[in-house]
């Protein structure tokens, strides 16, 4: 069975990180979310993938190529404009005949969920949807079940109306007829797969699973999911990384190729350092995701922070970390753990203090000795005084 992986989405809530890469390319344990999805699919026995790509697709294509590095075949279908998951799926039609699995490219899911859906699809020939329990079902597609039937699927309903913990896990077993059904479903603008499945829900078979299912909606989720994945996997430390004998790096940290960690630096749990990252002498990093080519200079303290690609955190700069309240799209998220986000190519000077929850855009310059908080735009120059 082939797998169609939906990876065309942008992930606007994760800006500025998603201004240069699509959400499926956000790194968790130094691997893009999409690579975790691909590996789960492969473990479930899938070796042919169709990636539906769109927004910033070059990032995906350059990373995965034709799939040889993973011993799978990857073909690319392009969704030029983002018109919903149903429309995205339709772009894969030329590459599919017969039954297939559809997956979200930005959700980490356990291989067993995929193989359970494959099995159910093979046995019944009906459309299949994996469902799982979630603490906050109202943030997702809430699925009301009636034995082995699906009574309703409702996208992000008001919390007080939710009567079940089950949500759509974004793993589907479908057939070629799905494409006709997508075409036949009326849509104003965006068309979601779930709208189509809802219309044909009499035949829809839910597959329940309790296992790993991780979503990255907000910046702090990147840190939480990263930390969780590091706990689950064996520590990865590239051979070409150079860690000074007087640096302290905990076992659980993920260290990619050509990372340099200077004398006296301390890398604490929950931290992933991408390729070619440099950590200066006596710097301290805790619960951080540092993207490729970034530099953390001598003596900087960086906690609970996402540091963008090719960004620089200057000497003795402090990103103090901890719990804080963050406003996203007008709603307040209380007590989330986010020290800050430093955008791609952004340079923080020396002795900068970054208040918890600060999000700094891409290509910004923050001069030495400043104190920054809240939201700082792309290309901004923050001066002292």
């Amino acid at each position: 069975m082939k797998a169609v992986v939906l990876a065309a989405g942008e992930g606007m809530r994760l800006r500025p990180l998603t201004r240069t890469r699509p959400k499926p390319m956000l790194p968790i344990g130094n691997q893009p979310l999409l690579e975790h999805v691909l590996e789960a699919g492969r473990e479930a026995g899938i070796d042919e993938f169709v990636f539906v790509v769109g927004y910033k697709r070059e990032r995906i294509q350059s990373h995965f190529g034709d799939g040889d590095d993973w011993d799978v075949d990857i073909e690319y279908a392009v969704q030029e404009t983002q018109l919903g998951t149903g429309h995205a799926l339709l772009q894969a039609e030329p590459y599919i005949n017969g039954s297939f699995i559809a997956l979200n490219g930005d959700r980490i899911v356990e291989p067993s969920a995929i193989s359970a859906v494959m099995r159910e699809r093979r046995e019944t020939g009906s459309p299949v949807m994996a469902v799982t329990r979630h603490r906050n079902p109202e943030n997702y597609g809430v699925v009301e079940l009636d034995g082995q039937r699906v009574r309703s699927i409702e996208e992000k309903p008001p919390a007080h109306t939710v009567k079940t913990d089950y949500i759509n896990a974004g793993v589907y077993g479908l057939g070629a007829s799905t494409f006709d059904e997508i075409r036949e479903t009326d849509a104003d603008g965006e068309l979601a797969i779930t709208t189509v499945l809802q219309a044909y829900r009499d035949a829809l078979r839910p597959v329940r699973f309790d296992g790993l299912w991780l979503d990255v909606s907000y910046h702090w989720d990147i840190l939480a999911v990263n930390s969780r994945m590091l706990d689950r996997t064996e520590s990865s430390r590239a051979e070409t990384a150079s860690i000074h004998e007087r640096a302290t790096v905990v076992d659980g940290a993920a260290i990619a190729a050509d990372v340099r960690i200077r004398p006296g630096a301390t890398v604490l749990p929950g931290t992933s350092l991408g390729e070619n990252v440099e950590i200066g002498s006596n710097a301290v990093l805790s619960n951080c995701v540092v993207l490729a080519d970034a530099t953390v200079d001598d003596g900087a303290v960086v906690r609970d922070c996402v540091v963008g690609e090719n960004a620089t955190v200057g000497a003795n700069t402090t990103i103090e970390g901890g719990d804080t309240d963050v406003v996203v799209d007008g709603s307040v998220h209380s007590d989330v753990r986010l020290g800050g986000v430093v955008g791609d190519n952004t340079a923080l000077g020396g002795n900068v203090t970054v208040s918890p929850g600060t999000v700094i855009g891409n290509d910004a310059t923050v001069e030495s000795g400043t104190i920054v908080s809240d939201w700082i735009e792309n290309d901004a120059i923050v001066r002292r005084g």
């Binding site: 070059e58 294509q61 350059s62 034709d66 690319y76 050509d258 080519d293 090719n310 190519n345 290509d363």
Partner: protein
């Protein structure tokens, strides 16, 4: 990665296998071979590109079955002996293999004890010897292959022919293999492009399947039982898959530059000490005694050499020059004992460069190669080799290899500069730190692709294009013009910016866009004066500029280059690559295979 192919049918096998291998070249091309089967088995194989093999292949052959192999090694020497197909001593059994046989060492010693002699260093060669034993015990070829596979550990796709045995036998475990069904015969191959010109009907064997191609049919066996595997019609463009979603290899390779650059510098830099390890053996006394470094190269590699020569004079305090290889002679006034000649060639097979190198060797100079291709001819002829590690480049227009060449040559500059005591550890650290920053800076350019695409639409219909730059910007101007002309067929020229007023300015009109390098390392303030000259004649100006250059006033379109010292012109070059690509693409040009051009020029 390697590629295998096999054909059996009613047509002549030789041209089919040769074309098939050329379609598999993306999987590697540092050695290749073909075995033609039938009553006897004829093996032809050579290290080097497919063209090297073509030279030893017969003009024609009546054989209608055979197997072939093309290879890109990442470890070990590609030599004639190590090229596939591999045979037993008598040459009756020939095998092509993609993958790794992990227990070959143990098998090899057992076979040696039993009297087999080995001709190569490969893991593959155990297979024909094992097969020979099975065939001698009276098994047919299918059973023999099944029996041998039992003894192998590791991953493989294998193709086998044996004299006097019917057909081709193939099998796979962990490596790809696809069967093709054409009207005139059947195929096995690592990938569909190998035979897509002949058929789009394919099937995919499962793990452990043994396949037997005969004149009458294609049989597939799983655990000794005949099975059938579903035949599918391929609808997609097979080549498209190899391009990983990109429209052209060139665009794919432009986007691979951050990765290629990380590879180029990986493990070679010690920033703390300001030192470089290139795994070469140039004694410090020799480097100290050097009076001159001459680079010999052609085309894009020549532009990389120009860049390097400037860096070496600046930082390594040694007279350096880049010479066009076809014009090179070891001329008077220099001492061969104190001259290092560095050949820069992507393929390692460029005839002009090889011949220049030989002239230098005859004169008695020490030689060094900077190349992308392990085991290529140049590596066998020089005293030392530094690899640029860019990975295979398929697009004829060199992109990522230029970037990787310059990065590698900058490492060489630090290596030589430090050994000569000309470069302080502080200066070395600064340049090395810029090299570390290069992948990120190039990625930043790639993230602005849209801006370049729009500029190409706006300025792409110019009558001619002029590229200008000074110092390190001058070779980049030449390279930008070369890229544009070779893929778009538009008239493009590159100049040292100061030369503009000595002639070419006469050609500048409002219909001739001028592209300028206005970055660090390129004397930008002076080039800005030249920009004013063309701007006042109405020419549209596109400038790659760093922050500290006040370009906006005189430049119509500014491409931002981030702060990266002497490497900023190299980053600007990535904008030129993208600009050239989009200008050519808007005109629907054959970007990966421009007319009249070949990837590696093996004639003088």
């Amino acid at each position: 990665m390697c590629g295998i192919i096999g054909y059996l049918g009613s047509a002549d096998a030789l041209p089919i296998l040769r074309d098939g291998l050329s379609n598999l070249e993306y999987r590697g091309y540092d050695s290749a071979g073909i075995a033609l089967g039938g009553d006897t088995v004829e093996v032809y194989k050579r290290a080097g590109e497919l063209s090297a093999l073509t030279e030893v292949l017969p003009e024609t052959s009546t054989a209608t079955m055979g197997i072939g192999h093309t290879r890109w090694s990442t470890h070990g020497e590609p030599t004639d002996a190590n090229a596939h197909p591999h045979t037993n001593e008598s040459g009756d059994v020939a095998v092509v293999h993609n993958g790794i046989i992990e227990n070959y060492d143990a098998l090899r010693s057992v076979l040696t004890e039993r009297g087999h002699t080995f001709a190569s260093d490969t893991d593959t060669e155990v297979v024909p010897h094992l097969l020979e034993e099975e065939l001698e015990s009276g098994r047919n070829l299918v059973d023999a292959v099944s029996a041998v596979v039992e003894k192998l550990e590791g991953n493989f796709a294998l193709g086998v022919v044996a004299a006097g045995h019917d057909g081709i036998v193939a099998t796979r475990r962990g490596n790809p293999l696809v069967l093709g069904y054409a009207e005139h015969g059947a195929f096995i191959a690592s990938d569909v492009p190998a035979f897509v010109e002949h058929t789009r009907r394919v099937s995919y064997p499962e793990e452990g399947d043994v396949i037997h191609l005969t004149e009458s049919e294609v049989s597939v066996y799983a655990d000794g039982e005949a099975v059938s595997r579903e035949i599918q019609e391929i609808e997609w463009d097979a080549e498209a898959a190899e391009k990983g979603g990109y429209k052209h290899y060139m665009l794919k390779e432009i986007h691979e530059q951050p990765t290629a650059l990380r590879q180029a510098i990986s493990g070679r830099i010690d920033e703390v000490k300001g030192e470089v390890d290139l795994e070469i053996d140039l004694p410090a006394e020799y480097l100290n005694s050097l009076a001159e470094i001459q680079f010999v190269a052609c085309g894009t590699s020549y532009h990389a050499a120009l860049y390097a020569a400037d860096l070496l004079e600046e930082y390594a305090d040694v007279r350096s020059s880049a010479e066009i290889a076809s014009e090179y002679e070891f001329r008077g006034g220099r001492d061969p004992w104190r001259t290092l000649v560095v050949a820069v060639t992507q393929s390692g097979e460029t005839a002009d460069t090889l011949s220049a190198l030989r002239r230098a060797k005859r004169a008695g100079a020490r030689t060094l190669a900077v190349t992308n291709t392990l085991g290529s001819t140049v590596t066998r002829e020089v005293d030392d080799t530094v690899f640029i590690r860019a990975g295979p480049e398929i697009g004829v227009a060199a992109t990522k290899t230029f970037c990787s060449q310059v990065a590698t040559l900058a490492l060489l500059c630090v290596y030589v500069g430090r050994a000569r005591g000309a470069m302080s550890s502080g200066d070395a650290r600064a340049l090395l730190s810029d090299l570390r920053g290069l992948p990120g800076a190039v990625q930043q350019v790639l993230d602005r692709e849209e801006q370049v695409c729009v500029a190409a639409e706006e300025y792409g219909d110019g009558d001619a294009f002029f590229f200008i730059g000074r110092r390190l910007g001058a070779p980049v101007a030449l390279e930008g013009a070369l890229k544009l002309k070779e893929i778009s067929y538009d008239h493009a020229e590159g100049f040292a910016a100061g030369e503009l007023k000595h002639g070419p300015l006469a050609l500048v009109t409002s219909e001739t866009p001028v592209l300028a390098v206005l970055t660090g390392g390129s004397n930008a303030p002076e080039t800005l004066n030249n920009v004013k000259e063309v701007e006042s004649r109405g020419a549209p100006v596109i400038g790659c500029a760093s922050d500290d250059v006040d370009a906006e006033k005189f430049v119509d379109e500014v491409f931002d280059v981030s702060d990266l010292g002497e490497l900023e012109p190299l980053v600007a070059n990535v904008y030129f690559q993208l600009f050239s690509y989009y200008v050519a693409d808007l005109q629907g040009r054959s970007i990966d295979k421009p007319r009249n051009l070949a990837k590696s020029v093996t004639v003088e």
